[in-house]
Amino acid sequence: MTSTLNQPSTSGTLPSCLSLENVTISYGSFEAVRDVYMDIPRNRVTAFIGPSGCGKSTVLRALNRMNDLIEGCSLRGRVVFDGQDIYAREVDPVEVRRRIGMVFQKPNPFPKSIYENIAFGARINGFKGDMDELVERSLRKAAIWDETKDKLKESGNALSGGQQQRLCIARAIAVEPEVILMDEPCSALDPISTLKIEEMMHELKKSFTIVIVTHNMQQAVRVSDYTSFFNAEAVEGGSGKVGYLVEFNDTERIFNAPVQQATQDYVTGRFG
């Protein structure tokens, strides 16, 4: 299991969008995830799967410097986006998050109107065009226009959970990022809302690169082109577990013919 830590990516034929180069993320002195190498391809959906505590969410949040908000969290290695290390000293994390948007596990619309939820991000990023048009376009892309077009002035909190999550996706789209990170976006939703979001992702990947963390392996199979499997192992002499990347490959190969035994065990449900 340990021999595969630094396995190079297998997606070399596609232009990569985000590259992780020997990334190790720690909370204080505790290493959460170690030595990750990965090339996330452009305009594809990449899924992160793995057991709880394997660091997949931590890695996802490192991709747009969201971990900066957590006290004591530090990163070693490089995360390269468009040829530039986003952790370089001269890089503004606000700009990183504008170009790499995020959708969270729990729907978190702002306590403002539906219209304002969408317009907010665009406005603070200096959008000068037709705001009404942008709001409609974003809501349409997130497949929630029909449900909200008559109540744009109502509070975003008045929507159902699934609608709120699509609103949050629309909010992320409105900023026109290049990448959208999704941290278990459907874990709080019912199956029908989940299906809607999954269908939407197939559309979205035409314009965006999507990275999704999911606990649901069927979901990874349904939505993703590439899958990376993370696992956690006990640290020698330590109390916690440290996560690492086991295998990264075409989704089909991860689920049908994985190279690693650990991957095989996990995707067939023999884990633990």
Binding site: L69, E71, R97, F120, N157, A172
Partner: protein
């Protein structure tokens, strides 16, 4: 429990008499305790109202707008004290709100390491633990002498403005306002901090996730989400400032001569009550109680307004 016939049946356990009477007794006790608060409140109000009857009859509403206070020929008007109460508490609020809310933002957002934030938070809370009379002494012996050159400067450069039109000579409205700031700062800070802490972490992340700077996240998302509780806290602080007695009495100068100037000695209703009640008799007592009634109505109004604001403007964020 399902019986043979398919009907739902419950077996009612007959509870012993002693158990039932204990339950009933406890219920009665809580009702009594809860109504005690209402009875005391009503009792105080009625007592003050009764005592004020005589003054209300002889001075009427002009009591509120005349400023003479003359125990020799029994002419009383509370305008000086009402003006002092309103101006001192509102101006104190005007200074304390930015300070308190700013401190709360500083100790809830991760601008500096957590330990430092906690130290500052504890210090603000300790400020609330200083007895009012100690603050009053400090105001007389330390703050006011230190403040006087600055107040002199204000008078010299802005003397044409009514609020700064007198020469500062010692105790007065301005130092009283500043001591009120010190006294209401902990309430505002503590309530604002709790309000900001209650803003869900997800909302913060959402704000940063669309590319907000910290500035935008704080002022466009986090503060609006907490604003109703903060305003509620501010109104409570206003109520406290209006009723604050000891420290204010010690530093305000207790003058019943009306002056617009903040640099002149003034009075507040509570300071006036504390000062004069001991020696008053006849209609002066009634006049003081009339003033007390006005103060009570003002603080009631502020508290009710606070509750209304909290309910009316509380944004629901899930």
């Amino acid at each position: 429990m399902r019986s043979e016939t398919g009907q739902d049946q419950f077996t009612l356990r007959r509870r012993p008499w002693s158990e039932r009477s204990i339950d009933g007794g406890f219920r009665l006790l809580t009702i009594l305790l809860a109504s005690l608060v209402a009875v005391v409140l009503l009792g105080i109000f009625l007592t003050v109202f009764n005592g004020a009857q005589e003054a209300m009859a002889s001075f009427g509403l002009s009591f509120l707008v005349t400023s003479g206070w003359n125990p020799v020929n029994n002419q009383y008007g509370a305008f000086t004290a009402i003006y002092g109460t309103l101006v001192s508490s509102l101006l104190a609020l005007f200074i304390a709100v930015p300070l308190g809310v700013g401190t709360a933002i500083f100790i809830t957002e991760n601008l500096i390491p957590r330990t430092w934030r906690e130290v500052i938070g504890v210090m603000v809370e300790l400020l609330a633990a200083i007895p009012s009379v100690v603050l009053g002494l400090w105001a007389i012996f330390v703050m006011e002498p230190l403040l006087r050159p600055f107040l002199n400067f204000l008078h010299q450069s802005l003397g044409w403005f009514p609020l700064f039109s007198t020469v500062p000579k010692g105790p007065g409205m301005a130092p009283a306002i500043l001591i009120l700031v010190v006294m209401i700062l902990p309430i505002i800070t503590a309530i604002s901090r709790d309000a900001l802490n209650q803003v869900p972490q997800e909302l913060r992340q959402g704000a940063y996730g669309v590319g907000s700077t910290r500035w935008i996240a704080i002022f466009n998302v986090i503060l609006p989400a907490a604003i109703s509780s903060i305003i509620g806290g501010v109104m409570l602080a206003l109520g406290r400032a209006m009723g604050e007695t000891m420290a204010v009495t010690m530093i305000i100068g207790n003058s019943m001569n009306f002056s617009w100037s903040l640099l002149a000695p003034g009075n507040t209703i509570s300071a006036m009550l504390a000062n004069q009640f001991g020696e008053a008799d006849g209609i002066q007592v009634s006049a003081l109680l009339y003033a007390a009634l006005i103060l009570m109505l003002m603080t009631f109004a502020v508290n009710i307004l606070a509750q209304w604001i909290v309910r009316r403007f509380s944004l629901s964020y899930n």
